[in-house]
């Protein structure tokens, strides 16, 4: 019943002109970002963040969250129409979505993607509504050692599930921890690695780092490459899927929704891996696996539902434990910290309007996206026709203004530039940025909890293995580190072959 009271309270926050307007702007911008290749949700949230400082936290979070799940809707449009995923979570949609479009079935592909996303988004929000408070009350039992082990588990899982080398992902996590320690030491107030540079005294901000690693570096990579975009010229008709399409898609949508939500709850899993798993699962369960890759609607329905459910699932550990599941959630965690809100078990009690407002907004946002998405497809097709050569200077300008407006300080722009170049080099040398971002956010919390635990135990590390929950988290971490040595790490490419 508490959940029901809460959600009513949430609707009271969102069903106001202000709440609806922020939700609308969030999902609309999210869809636009999803449509545009070269800018993902993490960079987009970091761009929008400075504009939210003058409003209340609940409205800001409603808009930023709307942007995240809006991206999942928009990303499918480019995958289906242009064969270029607007963002990474829609890569899988290209396989069958684009083939459907080539066969003149772009309408049903877009339709099933939108309807499947709507269904999954709703399932995800219901799950979030019930699971987050449950997990939060459980997390109240956590002490410093449990939190330390939980964060270690999150980081090792991120490296375990990374697409490239796990060793390199671990290196990036360690680098993130070092970068996270820049600034004044929380206990002794001693400046660490600041070299008398004022902007470093408060630590390296997450926003310019994310803008650099995910926004600038993407553009730096794309300006060197030629981008061929063959946009579908035929008119898109019959957006509503046929009866047969529905029959083929119903179960993949249901499975994708459940799989996506539960994978989204796990720390370290973003939508990309989940969509690959969903596609692999549908292919295995299908009576006609040979049709996958040639325009099978199941190959669009399952992954599209899945990526939206993941987006909802990702909010569970972030809101209830204060542990971000991926770089986007790390960004939202940073946003909450800027608003002066500590995410974690007490969030629901201390800021119910933020928590329940956010959940209620997701119901409203999903309806808005469904209504918006289908009629706006012709507009998105026009947006795709803007040449990349004109588009990227504008995106760069957004990044530059966004980073400057954080503190009206040129130092943040330089940090963004540095991480943009660093991110470009990381891509060239095949290092992944997500573990670095996660460790940068978790680093200071990890350090606090480690130091507290050691002070409690008088320097004895057995405190981490004498407590059952802590040891359980550490066993999972250890397994994530040892599995690759035993060649038990899942290979994403094989799933799709």
């Amino acid at each position: 019943m508490a959940a029901l009271d809460g959600i009513i309270q949430g609707f009271a926050v969102v069903l106001t002109i202000k709440g609806l307007a922020f939700c609308f702007v969030g999902v609309l911008l999210g869809t636009l970002v999803g449509v545009l290749p070269g800018i993902g949700p993490a960079a987009a949230i970091s761009l929008l963040l400075p504009t939210t400082f003058r409003t209340d936290p609940a409205s800001s979070m409603i808009m930023l969250a709307g942007l995240y799940y809006g991206v999942m809707y928009g990303g499918s449009t480019t995958s289906i129409l242009v064969n270029i995923p607007g963002e990474a979570a829609s890569v899988v949609t290209c396989f069958d979505g684009y083939q459907m479009a080539r066969q003149g079935r772009a309408g049903p592909a877009l339709g099933i993607a939108a309807l499947g996303s709507f269904f999954a988004g709703t399932v995800g929000v219901v799950g979030l509504m019930f699971l987050a408070p449950l997990l939060a009350s459980f997390a109240l039992l956590f002490g410093a050692p449990e939190y330390f082990s939980l964060m270690v588990m999150s980081m090792t899982l991120v490296t375990y599930l990374s697409r490239g080398s796990q060793l390199k992902a671990l290196m990036m996590a360690a680098l993130g921890l070092i970068l996270g320690s820049i600034g004044l030491d929380a206990v002794t107030a001693k400046p660490r690695f600041t070299y008398d540079i004022l902007v470093l005294r408060d630590g390296i901000g997450i926003v310019p780092v994310v803008m650099g690693l995910f926004g600038i570096s993407e553009i730096l990579q794309n300006v060197g490459a030629t981008m061929d975009r063959e946009i579908l010229k035929s008119k898109i008709t019959h957006l509503l899927p046929t009866r047969k399409d529905w029959q083929d898609s119903a179960m993949p949508i249901a499975r994708g929704s459940l799989l996506g939500f539960f994978l989204g709850v796990l720390p370290g899993l973003g939508p990309v891996i989940a969509t690959f798993l969903s596609y692999g699962m549908e292919k295995r369960l299908s009576k006609h696996p040979e049709k996958f890759g040639t325009g099978a609607i199941e190959g669009v329905a399952g992954p599209e539902a899945c990526n939206n459910a993941v987006a909802s699932g990702n909010f569970v550990p972030m809101l209830s434990l204060g542990i971000p599941a991926n770089a986007v959630m790390a960004m939202l965690l940073g946003a909450l910290a800027i608003y002066g809100i500590q995410p974690g078990p007490l969030l629901i009690k201390e800021h119910p309007q933020v928590f329940w407002g956010l959940i209620a907004s997701m119901y409203v946002g999903n309806v808005m996206l469904l209504i918006l998405n289908l009629p706006l497809i012709p507009l998105w097709v026009q947006v795709l026709k803007i040449p990349y050569g004109i588009l990227y200077p504008v995106i760069l300008l957004f990044c530059l203004i966004g980073s400057y407006s954080l503190n009206n300080n040129i130092g943040d722009v330089i940090i963004m530039w540095f991480f943009g170049v660093f991110g470009f080099l990381m891509k060239k040398f095949q290092f992944e940025p997500a573990p670095l971002v996660l460790a940068l956010v978790l680093g200071p919390m990890l350090e606090d909890n480690l130091r507290q635990s050691l002070i409690i135990s008088q320097g004895n590390f057995s405190i981490f293995i004498n407590r059952p929950l802590s040891v359980a988290f550490l066993v999972v971490s250890l397994s994530a580190l040892l599995f690759p040595l035993l060649k038990l790490r899942p290979r994403l490419r094989e799933t799709t072959e």
Partner: protein, 147 residues
């Protein structure tokens, strides 16, 4: 493993040694009383160890050729333009810096015609000034125009 892992491994080993040294100057403390340098010291130790493994595997194991470095001319130009924007913003002000930045990208990188580049730069910088400076009231530096 790729060929460049040898050099990135070596780079991160040197970087971690530097951080270890700097952390020990801050004071590492003991396990019972961790000091300011405690956490960065052990984090860099971890990074150093992992980099050592990477370098070792890349030198000893089977490696693939790394991605080629051709076509990075535009990347270098754009990144220098970004740095130029950051360095000139306070002095020249938002309006002029934005105009020059867009003009440079369209003309030098995208090789568009002068007239098109200049008019697009003028339009984009004016639009950004109206939206961010006048409407959202972001405190954009006026630079030499404000004197």
């Amino acid at each position: 493993m790729i060929t460049t892992d040898r050099w990135t491994g070596l780079f991160f080993i040197l970087f971690s040694l530097y951080v270890c040294f700097e952390s020990s100057r801050l004071g590492v403390g003991t396990f019972f009383r961790p000091a300011a340098g405690f956490f960065p010291f052990y984090s860099s130790l971890l990074l150093g160890l992992l980099s050592l493994i990477l370098g070792f595997l890349a030198f000893r194991g089977k490696v693939e050729r790394a991605e080629s470095w051709t076509d990075v001319g535009n990347t270098v130009t754009v990144s220098l333009a970004l740095l130029g924007f950051a360095l000139l913003l306070t002095w020249l002000g938002f309006a002029i810096t934005t105009f020059l930045f867009i003009l440079f990208l369209l003309r030098a990188v995208e090789r568009r015609a002068w007239l098109l580049s200049a008019s697009a730069a003028l339009f984009i910088s004016a639009a950004f000034y109206v939206v961010f400076g006048l409407w959202l009231k972001a405190q954009l530096p006026a630079g030499i125009l404000g004197r």
